[in-house]
Amino acid sequence: MNPRRRTFLKAGAVAVAGFGAFPFVPRTRARIAGGMAGPDAGLGHRFRDGGFPEPSATESTNVLVVGGGIAGLATGRELDRLGRRDWKLLELENELGGNASSGRNAVSEFPWGAHYVPLPGPEAPEVTTLFEELGVIVGRDPRGLPVYREEYLCHDPQERLFVDGRWQEGIVPHFGIGARERLRIEAFLARMGELRSARGNDGKPLFAVPADRSSRDPAWLALDREGFVSPELRWYVDYCCRDDFGAASDRVAAWAGLHYFAARRGSAANAPGHAVVTWPAGNGWIAGRLRGGAGERCVPRTAAFRVTETDGGAEVWAWHAGAARTVRHRARHVVLAVPQFVAARMLGPDGAAGGRASGVYSPWMVANVTLRSMPPGRGAPPAWDNVLRESRSLGYVMATHQSLDAVPRATVLTYYQPLDEGLPAESRRVASGRGWESWRDQILADLGPSHPGIADLVERIDVRVWGHGMICPVPGWLWDGRRGALAKPRGRVHFAHSDLGGMSLFEEACVQGVRAARDVVARWEGKIDA
């Protein structure tokens, strides 16, 4: 529509609204559909509180994977690659993918959690291999650099920031801040650039993805915060930490904070090293591809609740919600691809030993907001990642950004908010008590200043609260030795989850899954003694 005409119509709408302004707003909101989506709370709570019946059937498989997130799916895929196709995967939810799960409606697919992967660096060959097999990497240029499928590289414009009443391009603050602030930010980014290429006394990069492949140089592991002072920089660093860890920089380890900036060493023939790959469904696209390869071996809506070692294997008791019965799964090997606090519960009385239940998990709220048309806004045009400077949310990602349609129309915004105002347990409790209307109103109020009139364009808002969204690398978690010990198998029970890598990243989950599968096979072949 012609902008002038829109102004005209808007003037008309204002005039009309003058007659009934008061009931106007609530009616707009009442029109918006949606609800709380996501985790099967009934099944989840039943798992926590116990109360599943005794097994009434028995099934056998060579390898049983518990948990259908990226770690579990990657375990299954690696087992296939190693020629061990006799495995089964149990997942609590109806949809697989875990943090990488996604949804879809008439407008678009959209992520429910993780939504991109940075170009994998030399320390994550598992991810590179996966990307080659999935067609994300389509070839190599003469220098040997991977050529990424262009449609999957995040399209330009990638980021914008709403600050001082208008959108600016990029999210590093640069608009309307003093020269000194800008210099400080530049100094910080330059320093991060140095750290990115620096190596420790063991010859390994200071910061790597996965974190375990970083240098163990004690001088760096003991790292504390350097004296970077600038409110704008603090905001930016906090934003980044909340983005990756669900908690601001004052709560995460300095090492983890620096890791965010200094660990990405990806490269591509047709994109800069800091590029990312993404899809309308976010990492749900990868989960979907992995799920497709797994086929019938994935069993959804199944709550594994007891894991015990047996002679020559392990046994898992699982409640199959569909069949309404408990099945005793006998396997030669079990891979627990679940968060450690869940694994601790499955393992029974001594499951929490070694601090398995001691990790801190950040709660999140993710909402998918479906709009009739692109939201209007002042300044830079819509980007993939749209960040609000004055907000507790992280802003939103536009699910239709990767669409190739020439004329964008309806869209879905995936809105992210780490619930980090209080301690995780407290935030989790408060969030679980909040109704959909309360989230709806908060989201509309948060998006209002950057997108005047957005409420009129919203068709539906679907909200999902992740009580334990992601492991938070609080000081100590990464390098106090706990993780390494927890990742070691207990007999025939193996562990694979991003929290064991230290950070809730796709690459960590993928590498963990591949490692567990290789472990299982090595043990099977007797290369490693039980």
Partner: protein, 505 residues
């Protein structure tokens, strides 16, 4: 008031209403030829209808037996309102009315009849104050001098300085003012006069409001966006389609951007199609992406070797318009209804993905890369997909904006095609309504430099065609980044380059 001054005032009002009457006629005639074209026909019919309506008005005055003064005041008010708002109404309704002519001639009839009533009524009002010979002499003197004034004011002052809409409102105000003056001079001071004064003042306020809001009204009718009169405007779900026309020049604008001018589009379209297609005398299957106006297809169909053309345009409204609107069908020669042509309404990117055809030649005629959505249609990703629907040895041509104004943007398209693995041959042409315009011909292997031009071209001959491929230094290649989905370098070049010039295409 003395009888003499009353007489003078009434004669002055003859002068004013004569001017007003002619101005309305001129407004209607101008609007009709603006909006409908063919000014000789429009002016003749408008004058004819208007004059005969005046005759009807004069004839109707014979049925008035008393109360001439009151009727005269009423007529003044009515003429003021209808005539004064006529051009605003016509502009606003043109793009929306189903049968514009009915509206146009209806308005002309109403205004003509009312104006026709004025002079006979005034003659009768003045008949007791003047000798018959003086009466006739003076009234008609003022009438004709008023007409002269109008005919000079209209083209020299009103249209250039006020515009049609504001001029009409101004003369509507004058008509109502004459009515109010008459009321004052001849009124009886009774209740009727008082209430009519109120009516007159309200009308004055309304017309004054219209005069002040002319800019707004025009903006709404989109007229002010375009220098020429809008003859068609419609919003499809994808774009705003506007046709303008002035003095036989038909122009298509999509979202405010000029797509072609009927005066020189043959230069653009001949240059778009033939320098490439004329080098493939055996091409049978041709693809056109964009170009829903059917003008590129018109040029393609000149090649008898072409058996089949597939036109993919996103907007069904566009192809429907260029199949059904008489003026437009005349322009594209009915190309979209040719049995050799298949029209597909789809998004080019996704259509190519699913296409199984293999084309010997393709014409890529998308709107300029002025935003990120359109920029995707100029990326390496797009050209690589396009390459998959081309037969071995085929070529395609891409309209690539102006190498003079948007030099980096133009060479960026060339660079992008090279980065996608094509051999390129950039060329350019001068199109008066666009300026210097550029195209890039791309193929997997070099194409022989021989042109088998079809007969009937107005612009291209073999020598001219060969000359298009030479670039003078001010348009010559500059280094650029290829345009990819993940950098959209082209949109940035395009924006920066065009921002340097005051006007956009």
């Amino acid at each position: 008031m003395t009888d003499r001054s009353t007489r003078l005032l009434l004669l002055a009002s003859v002068f004013v209403i004569a001017t007003c009457g002619l101005v309305y006629e001129l407004v209607a005639g101008t609007l009709a030829s603006y909006l409908l074209g063919d000014s000789v026909l429009q002016f003749s019919t408008v004058i004819g209808v208007y004059l005969s309506a005046m005759g009807v008005g004069s004839w109707l005055s014979g049925f008035v037996s008393r109360g001439e003064a009151r009727l005269f005041v009423r007529v003044q008010f009515l003429v003021g309102v209808v005539g004064g708002s006529s051009s605003a109404l016509l502009f606003v309704l043109f793009a929306h009315a189903a049968s514009f002519r009915v509206l146009l001639y209806g308005l002309i009839l109403v205004v003509g009849i009312l104006v026709g009533l004025e002079i006979p009524l005034l003659l009768r009002i003045l008949k007791d104050r003047l000798e018959f010979k003086d009466l006739v002499a003076r009234v008609f003197t003022f009438d004709y001098i008023g007409a002269l004034l109008a005919s000079l004011l209209f083209p020299l002052v009103l249209v250039p300085h006020l515009g049609l809409v504001r001029s009409s409102f101004l003369f509507g105000i004058l008509n109502v003012a004459v009515g109010l003056l008459t009321l004052r001079v001849l009124g009886d001071g009774g209740r009727w006069s008082a209430s009519m004064r109120v009516v007159g003042l309200v009308l004055l306020a309304l017309l004054g409001g219209g005069f002040a809001a002319s800019g707004r009204i025009l903006a709404w009718s989109e007229q002010s966006t375009f220098s020429d009169p809008v003859i068609f405007a419609r919003s499809s779900p994808y774009q705003r389609i506007v046709l303008t026309r002035a003095a036989g020049d038909l122009r298509l604008h999509l979202n405010g951007n000029l797509q072609f001018s009927s005066r020189d589009e043959y230069r653009y379209h001949e240059a778009l199609v033939h320098p490439g297609l004329a080098r493939f005398p055996r091409a049978r299957e041709v693809l056109v992406l964009g170009g829903g106006d059917g003008l590129a297809v018109r040029e393609i169909l000149r090649h008898d070797n072409v058996r089949h053309v597939v036109l993919v345009d996103l907007d069904p409204e566009m192809t429907r318009l260029f199949r059904s609107q008489e003026l437009l069908v005349r322009l594209n020669g009915g190309s979209l209804d040719s049995p050799r042509v298949t029209v597909v309404n789809a998004d080019a990117f996704s259509w190519i993905e699913g296409a199984t055809n293999r084309f010997d030649f393709a014409v890529v005629d998308f709107p300029d890369p002025s935003n990120y959505s359109l920029g995707k249609l100029y990326t390496t990703a797009f050209y690589e997909r396009l390459g998959r629907v081309l037969a071995p040895g085929a070529a395609f041509v891409v309209q690539s904006t102006s190498p003079l104004v948007a030099r980096r943007a133009f060479w960026c398209v060339d660079e992008t095609l090279r980065a996608s693995g094509f051999v390129t041959e950039p060329y350019h042409v001068y199109v008066p309504s666009f300026g210097e315009w550029g195209y890039v011909l791309a193929s997997r292997e070099p194409v022989p430099f021989r042109f088998h031009l079809p007969p009937g071209l107005r612009f291209l001959d073999p020598e001219t065609t060969a000359g298009l491929f030479r670039f003078p230094p001010d348009m010559d290649r500059v280094p650029t980044e290829p345009n990819r989905l993940n950098n959209q370098s082209l949109v940035r070049y395009f924006e920066e380059d065009w921002a340097k010039v005051a006007t956009t295409p």
